[in-house]
Amino acid sequence: MEDFVLRGLVAGLGVALLGAPLGCLVVWRRMAYFGEALAHAALLGVALGLLLDLAPTIGIVVTCLAVALLLAGLGRHQPRFASDTLFGIVSHGALATGLVVLSQMEWVRVDLFSYLFGDILAVGYGDLGWIGLTLVVVYAILAWLWRPLLAVTVHADLAAAEGISVARVHLVFMLLIALVTAVAMKIVGILLVTSLLVIPAATARHFARTPEQMAVGAALVGALAVVGGLAASLEFDTPSGPSIVVAATLLFALGLLRRHPDGSGRRP
């Protein structure tokens, strides 16, 4: 196997592993729109990173966190607008601002397509380092906060009444999503990052009886999608990021054929 293919494969598998537990949390907490808003804001992060001469990953994480806090604040102080309206505004506002800022930076040559749709075959060793580091950080935090995250997901007030600091858990969750967005962007791009979180998790729901089974299942589905998408991309010369997402979507469609193990999916 060519070196760059191997790097891409490892990076893709790493991102599948990263996205699985967080994707489950996004799906459980109905925060797909939130993830989307952060992903779109990532382009602004790239621009800011270039402007300030920082590593793009740092620019992305900082911008995503700022947007997450903005969304949390807006949600509280603008009861007039439903959250999906606010998310839509912030999400596309940030994406458009990122595009405008990047277009004005004539001194850098930016491959916009690779930011928007990813370029898994251009992954370098530095990127692998970032993914590895993020994996360690994210899994360490999850090992510490998985149960509180789950409790807050089921019922925030109940968790708070039983001694969990809901605000802190929520903040950490946003940080995790920002981190994953920053590294997953390289693989499938800004426009498709959320799909890599949501689709494997949703697919795994067909087969899971516990939250942890669903997370493990999501990792397997994500890995399968990466392998399949990458192979198809090499075979048919299709863009790699979208190919991975297509593979994940096909797996989800296949999963629909299976009956739910506990019947709970069919209750209204």
Partner: protein, 259 residues
């Protein structure tokens, strides 16, 4: 009737003093004083939007009051059954996991808590498949796992049919009896909870009236708040002393109007 457990847990468990909370310029909770003693069942009653759940959240410390304060007995253990807990079907969760979301408990302890509320067979059932009554019992078992001094139950019978409601209230009264814990309950139906409650607070942002259930039920403020519906209930529940029937079932001749 007082059991030993009640005596050992005597005294005030929790008290709200002059609790006030504004929301959007309006007082949702307005100068509420309320205390719950060990071993007693206190029911909060009031129409929709009266602030019952908000008051519960203030007492639990989930919301900070604008005015007044909450005093808890040091080391107080609270078991909480929240209003409207719905687990999204996309989250695979069985009863055992729901019981141990925030605090670990042994299989045996889980089994025992479920048995205490009559649903021991549900330990591994998926939460989304439970009926309304089963879910409320599981949540009650969950609250019991904390070995609480105080049970806070926000509409414990919601989603439960009429017969199931009476049964659930009997169960709660029984739990108080042998555990000796205090109970704060939210309800919107005084007649249903009367048998299972020691004191009633009728709430409509402020405390309209409080006392023994029978006295609250006849209180003019309570009647004004709940209107003709409860006046009818009064009639239904009281009329059997008003007249007698003859052998054919017709009302006996010397009768007056019955409610």
């Amino acid at each position: 009737m007082r059991t030993m457990a009640e005596v050992t847990r005597q005294g005030e468990l929790i008290a709200g003093q002059g609790l006030t909370l504004h929301y959007g310029g309006q007082a949702v909770i307005d100068g509420v004083d309320l205390a719950i003693e060990g071993g007693e069942i206190v029911t909060l009653i009031g129409p929709n939007g009266a602030g019952k759940t908000t008051l519960v959240k203030l007492l639990l410390g989930l919301v900070a009051p604008d005015g007044g304060r909450v005093v808890r007995r040091p080391g107080l253990r609270v078991g909480y059954l929240p209003q409207r807990l719905q687990v999204d079907p996309v989250l695979p969760l069985d009863v055992s996991r729901l019981l141990t979301l925030t605090h670990r408990a042994s299989r045996a302890a889980q089994q025992q808590a479920l048995a205490e509320v009559g649903v021991a067979h549900l330990l591994h059932a998926p939460v989304q498949g439970l009926s309304g009554g089963e879910l409320q019992r599981v949540l009650l078992a969950r609250a019991l796992l904390a070995d609480p001094d105080l049970l806070v139950l926000d509409e414990p019978t919601q989603g439960v049919d009429f017969n199931g409601q009476a049964e659930l209230y009997r169960l709660i009264a029984g739990l108080r009896q042998h555990r000796g814990c205090g109970v704060l309950m939210v309800s919107h139906d005084l007649v249903m909870v009367m048998a299972a409650t020691d004191r009633v607070f009728c709430l409509n942002h402020h405390v309209c009236c409080h006392g023994a259930p029978e006295s609250v039920r006849r209180h003019p403020e309570y009647l004004a708040l709940f209107g003709p519906r409860v006046a009818d209930e009064l009639a239904v529940y009281a009329h059997h002393h008003d007249h007698a029937h003859d052998l054919t079932g017709a009302v006996a001749a010397d009768e007056h109007e019955a409610g």
